[in-house]
Structures are given as C-alpha cells and as structure tokens.
C-alpha cells in the first residue's frame, strides 16, 4: 500500500490563511476601524547570483502580533523621488514574501550610488495601506580559497561597487552552510582590515558530504550595504560516514529486515506444527472415508 504523502507546507499555509481570514472577518464584524499593517524589508545580494528583498507583514491585533497572510505587496524602486514599479508578491501563511531579481542592473541608484527599494500594500477591507523602503549601497565580496601547508584559508575582499573602493572595518564572517543555520568558522567579531580584506583559517575537521563544504563569506545587515553573501564550494571537509542500521537485519528493522534467526525459528515452528496439523486433519478425512 502506498502511504499518502502530504505537503506540510501547504497545510500550514492554509491553516494560517484560514486563521488570517477568520481574524480579518472577525475584525470587520466588530468594528469598522481598520488595522495597521507593519512591513519590514531586508535586502540581500548573492555574489554571482540574484538579489532579493525579504518582506514580512505583521499586525498587532488584540495585543498579539499576527502574521498577515495573503496580502498583495507592490515592489518598486525609488530614484529622485520617483517610484518605479518592479512587480508584486503575495505574503504566505507566515506573512512572508520574497521578491527576487536577477541582478541590481534592473534598477538604478541615485547620483551617490544609493539604491532604494520599497514595498507597498494598497490596503483592503481589514487593513490600512502601508509601505516600507530600504536603502543600500552596492557592495561586492570577492572570496578565494587558498591552501598553504595543507591548511586552507578563505581570503576575501570587500569593496563598494559604486565608489570602486575597498571597505575597511566592516563586520564580516565566514561560515559553513548546515541543515538549519550556518556554522560560523571565523572569530566572533571579525572586521575587514584597512584593505577591506580578511583571511580565515578553515578547520580541517568539519564534516561534509563527500568532504564537500559550502563556505560563505557574509556581511550581514550592514547599515550601508545590507546583506551580501559570497559562496565558495570547498572540497576540504571531512567526509562523513552514514551511521544507520537502516539497511541491516535488526530487531527494530521493518518486517523485510527481520534477523534471520527469528525468521528461521518461526518458520520451522509454523511449518513444523502446521504440517503435523494438516497431517492430522488428513487422518480425520481418512477416518471419515473408511468403508466398513
């Protein structure tokens, strides 16, 4: 029998969708006063990759923060006081929305090299209109892996793309991508030196599948530059070995992987006793067939 598979994501999405709608209708029923939506926006740039805006919509209803799901947000960029539309996104069940662009080329900075992205909500029956902008300069990280005396280092340089200058004294970190959260391998508060550069030693004992590590050099939530990530694949980890008895015949295995001695013992018992039982029943038939 095939086990039914489900989409948990979908479940949650619709659960909160329903919740939000119930709340919304509840609010509508109680008072005509609309709720205020609070938007937050975070800008992230991936080197040699996309740039994106992570949006979050919440509202304060009955003294608790509620994610506002299913509202449409218009994303735009601002230049010289003018708003240019880029597209629209809908918030998911957690009130989150993700707007992605191939690169920054699609939008233009002002004369000082400052970009401004914004998201706006037009308002509906339950919520008032709201908007949020985020301004940032375009930064770039160039990262390289270098091995000296069988010790690996991540060397990286942080620069301002518009000003074409190196960025000194910026907090930066080097990390390894892990299942839930990345693991930082640089010291806790590492800043770029006067040349905008860092060099971080990569420990040799970090496990990765087939020894492959996904390293990242990151400036996070920088006041001027937002978040910038440079990814680096490095085959310098320790390959991990799967530790599972899943494929073995164990007492706790599924029925297809029963230890052989149990199969053997039970088999002998069943065949033995039922063989005799069948023989005995056959004797009954023989007795019944007997002609005097």
């Amino acid at each position: 029998m095939k086990t039914k598979q489900i989409s948990n994501l979908a479940v949650l999405r619709f659960l909160s969708l329903g919740l939000a709608l119930m709340l919304a209708t509840g609010v509508r029923a109680q008072a005509t006063e609309k709720q205020r939506v609070r938007l937050s926006a975070n800008y992230t740039k991936v080197m040699n990759g996309p740039v994106y805006l992570d949006l979050q919509a919440t509202a304060r209803i009955d003294n608790s923060n509620v994610d506002v799901a299913g509202i449409e947000l218009e994303v735009y960029y601002e230049r010289d006081g003018e708003e240019m539309a880029l597209g629209t996104v809908n918030t998911n069940e957690s009130g989150k929305a993700h707007f992605e662009m191939e690169s920054l080329k699609a939008i233009k900075p002002d004369s000082t090299g400052l970009y401004t992205l914004g998201a706006a909500f037009g308002g509906n029956d339950a919520f008032r209109a709201a908007s949020r902008t985020v301004s940032f300069r375009d930064a770039a990280i160039s990262a390289k892996l270098e091995t000296r005396d069988s010790v690996s280092y991540v060397n990286a340089t942080l620069s301002d793309a518009a000003a074409d200058s190196l960025i000194a004294d910026a907090l930066i970190r080097v990390q390894v991508v892990r299942l839930f959260r990345p693991l930082r391998i640089s010291e806790e508060f590492l800043s770029t030196d006067s040349d905008g550069a860092i060099s971080v030693e990569v420990p040799t004992d970090i496990p990765g599948k087939d020894g492959l590590l996904q390293l990242q050099v990151v400036i996070a939530d920088n006041d001027d530059y937002g978040t910038v990530i440079a990814a680096l694949d490095a085959p310098i980890g320790t390959p991990f070995v799967e530790d599972t008895t899943y494929f073995e015949r164990t007492l706790w295995g599924p029925r297809g992987r029963t230890p052989l001695f149990i199969v053997l013992f039970t088999g002998v018992l069943i065949v033995g006793s039922w063989g005799v039982i069948v023989y005995l029943i056959r004797n009954l038939f023989k007795i019944a067939k007997n002609k005097p």
């Binding site: 007492l251 706790w252 295995g253 599924p254 029925r255 029963t258 230890p259 149990i262 199969v263 039970t266 018992l269 069943i270 006793s273 039922w274 005799v276 039982i277 023989y279 005995l280 029943i281 004797n283 009954l284 023989k286 007795i287 019944a288 067939k289 007997n290 005097p292």
Partner: protein, 439 residues
C-alpha cells in the same frame, strides 16, 4: 439395564436440570451485558476503561494471561499423564481437554478486546513483523487452538459413534448430529490404527506447543525494559504458574461436574487424592519460582527494582500480594500436604482458592510494574497514578469468563465427560467394539 446402557446414561448427554437452566441463563445474561459494554467501548473508545497512558495494560491483559495459563492444563494433564501412562488420569482427561479448548478460544478473543483498533486486525497478518512477541502470539494461539481441538476430538470419535448408535431410534435428529461428528466411525481396524497414531502425535505435539505458548506469554512482558517484567526467570515462572492455574481450574470443574452428574462412582476419592498430589507439586514449583522472582532480587535490586518490590511486599500492593501469595499459593500447598484434605470437598474449596489466587496473581504481575516507570509520573491527572478496573472492564471481563464457562457447560452437556468407549473396553463389556474389530 445393561452396564453399557448404564454407562451411557451416566456419562452421556443429559438434559439441563432447572439449576442447569438457571446457570445457563445467568451465563448468557453476563455474556450479553459484556457484549453491550464492548460495543460501547468500540463506539467511545477505550476511555471507558480505567487504563491510561501509564497503566496502559490492565484487567484485559491479566485476564488474557489467565486464560492462556489455564489452557496449559491440556498439556500437563492429558499429555504428561498419558505419556507416563498413569491410569488414574481417565476421569480428568476429557474435562481437561474441554477446559483447554474453552480457555484458548477465550484467550484469542480477550487479546482482541484489548486492541483499541480491532477494525485493523488484518494488519496483524498483512503487515506482520516477526520481531514482535505479539506476532508470535498471533502464530502460537491459533496453532495451540487447533491442536487442543484435535486433542479433544480424536479420542472422542468412538464416543460420538456410540451416541450416534444409541440415539438412532430414540432421537434421530440428535443421532444425525452425533453421526456427522463421528465421521462414520465403525471401529474398523484402519480407523483404530489412524486414531491411535493421531492421538500419539497430537499428545507429543501439545507439550512443546504448550511450553512455547506459556513462554511467549511471558515474553510479552520480559521483552520490555520494565522493572518487574524484564526478567529471564519469566518464562519458567509463567509455565509453573500455568500448571497451578490449570490444575486448580480442573479440580474445581471436576468436582462440580461430579456433583451435578452424580459421577461419584466414576470419579472417586482415589482420583482426587492423586490429582491433589500433582497440584501440591505444581504449587511447590510455583512457590519456588516466586522466591526466585521476588526474594532473591532483594539482594541486588537496582533503585527502580527495589521500589517496585517495596510496593508489592510492603507498599500499596502488599495486601493483595500477600493475600494471593499466602492464600492462593502457600496455604493451599500446605493444606494439600495432608491426606485428609485431599478429599473431593476440601479439595474443591482449596482449588477455588488456587484459581482465585491465580487470577489476581496475573493482575499483580501486570499492573504494579506499569506504575513504576523509569521517569516519575508527572504532568498527568492524579487519577492516572492508580488503577482499578472500570465498570466496563468488569462487565467485559466477566463476560469472557462467562463465555468460557458457557463453552465448558455446553460441551459437558453434550459430550461424555469420561470416555464411554474406554470404560466399556476396560470393563470387558460385550458392547465394546474394539475386540469385535480386532477379531
């Protein structure tokens, strides 16, 4: 009336007396009430029981263990006495077979009552995992059931034929029914040969199966990490306990049947004296295993185990524990040592003590252990820290006992409780057909 006629009249089917009818009515009423309670349990779920997440097994399981233990009587009385060719076994054999059949059938039913999703019973076969002791139970119970039915049936064939012939003119319909079950039995050489051979095989088969059945029953408990169950002593402990509950039940039943059917000439003091000795032996062995199970661990018990032992020996369960141990085990053993007390009537009362003790003994094996998990019982209602069966559990369990008695009563009503054929042959009556066939 010829002696042969006399035998048939004494041992053959007899209509229910008024007392018999009232007894049947009582059993049926209890059964119906239990079935109603069970239907309610099906609808509302097992919240109608007093079992909860800590005491997750209760009365149903101890009842099941009792049935399984009692069905072991077939293996000891029938097989062992037959193999050792003890002549005094005769009046007990058929009744022991009847008890075994009734108990193993009810054991199969009671274990399903404890299943919260009986609608998924087929999963036990479709998705069976051989690692689980429950699967072993699923295999051994039907096997033992089949063999104990055969053990009852093969030796009964000539008796059924005798009754068929006996009722041929007087009661054609009854004769026909006996005829169906008698399988055209005519005492021919070949039939006798097949029957003798089959009996020998089935007797040899039921001993290991009985031992395996009791052991698996013990494994249900001893394959867990639970303090008080996790014991390598458990299988022999269960086997010796099964001897006690099986023999106790048999003695009580034999006495009742003897009294109601007035079989004092067939089941004599001599027979009771003999089986009394066997019961003493069983009790002694069981006492020995109890010492191993409860006293020896006092020396090396770990923290959790001492706590468990304390509960039983001096704590919450001390009263029932000592009642069962002294009243149901030590006292009967001591009393039965006296020849004067190995007489039918005193033995009947002693055997009732033994059966009652055996029954509650199982309860004491199942419940107190569950109240001593490794982690403390916290975060659940106070009532979950105790257990006493609910009304539903009493009703349903009572019904299973009533049904077992119903099966026994009906079999005793329609089947000769002692083999007429055998007695006729032993007494050399001319109606005995063995010689005829042999000649």
């Amino acid at each position: 009336m010829s002696r042969f006629e006399q035998l048939i009249q004494d041992l053959g089917p007899r209509k229910f007396s008024l007392k018999g009818k009232l007894w049947m009515a009582l059993l049926i009423v209890i059964s119906v009430a239990g079935i109603a309670a069970y239907v309610d349990q099906l609808i509302r779920g097992q919240e109608v029981t007093n079992m909860r997440d800590y005491v997750l097994w209760g009365f149903y399981i101890s009842n099941f263990v009792f049935f399984v233990a009692t069905s072991f009587v077939a293996a000891i009385v029938v097989a062992v006495l037959r193999l050792t060719n003890n002549e005094w076994r005769r009046p007990f054999v058929r009744l022991a077979e009847i008890v075994a059949v009734a108990c193993i059938i009810m054991a199969g039913i009671t274990i399903m009552i404890d299943m919260a999703r009986p609608d998924r019973i087929l999963n036990l076969f479709v998705h069976a995992r051989l690692q689980s002791p429950i699967t072993w139970d699923v295999i051994i119970i039907p096997t033992f059931m089949a063999v104990s039915i055969l053990l009852l049936y093969f030796p009964m064939l000539p008796d059924l034929a005798i009754l068929r012939d006996h009722y041929r003119d007087k009661h054609p319909r009854l004769s026909k029914i006996y005829g169906i079950f008698a399988l055209k039995w005519q005492w021919t050489k070949q039939q006798l040969r097949l029957q003798q051979k089959s009996i020998q095989i089935v007797v040899l088969l039921i001993i290991p199966l009985g031992l395996i059945l009791e052991s698996i029953d013990a494994y249900l408990f001893s394959t867990t990490y639970r303090v008080g169950w996790d014991s390598s002593n458990f299988a022999p402990y269960f086997i010796s306990g099964a001897m006690v509950s099986g023999l106790g039940t048999l003695v009580a039943l034999v006495y009742v049947v003897r009294k109601n059917k007035k079989l004092e000439n067939y089941i004599t003091d001599y027979h009771f004296e003999k089986i009394g000795r066997l019961l003493v032996l069983a009790l002694m062995i069981y006492i020995y295993f109890n010492i191993n199970e409860y006293l020896v661990p006092l020396f090396t018990s770990k923290e959790a185990e001492s706590e468990h032992l304390n509960t039983l020996l001096v704590g919450d369960y001390a009263v029932p524990f000592w009642l069962v141990t002294i009243g149901g085990l030590v006292l009967p053993a001591l009393l039965l040592l006296f020849k004067r007390l190995r007489k039918p009537r005193p033995m009947f009362y002693i055997s009732l003590l033994v059966v009652l003790g055996s029954y509650w003994k199982r309860y004491l094996i199942v419940t107190p252990t569950l109240l001593h998990p490794y982690l403390p019982i916290q975060g659940v209602p106070e009532s979950w820290r105790h257990y006493f069966p609910s009304l539903h559990e009493w009703a349903i369990t009572g019904a299973t006992l009533a049904m077992a008695l119903l099966i026994i009563t009906l079999l005793v009503r329609y089947v000769p409780v002692i083999s007429i054929d055998r007695l006729a042959e032993e007494e050399g009556l001319e109606e005995a057909k063995h010689k005829e066939a042999a000649a």
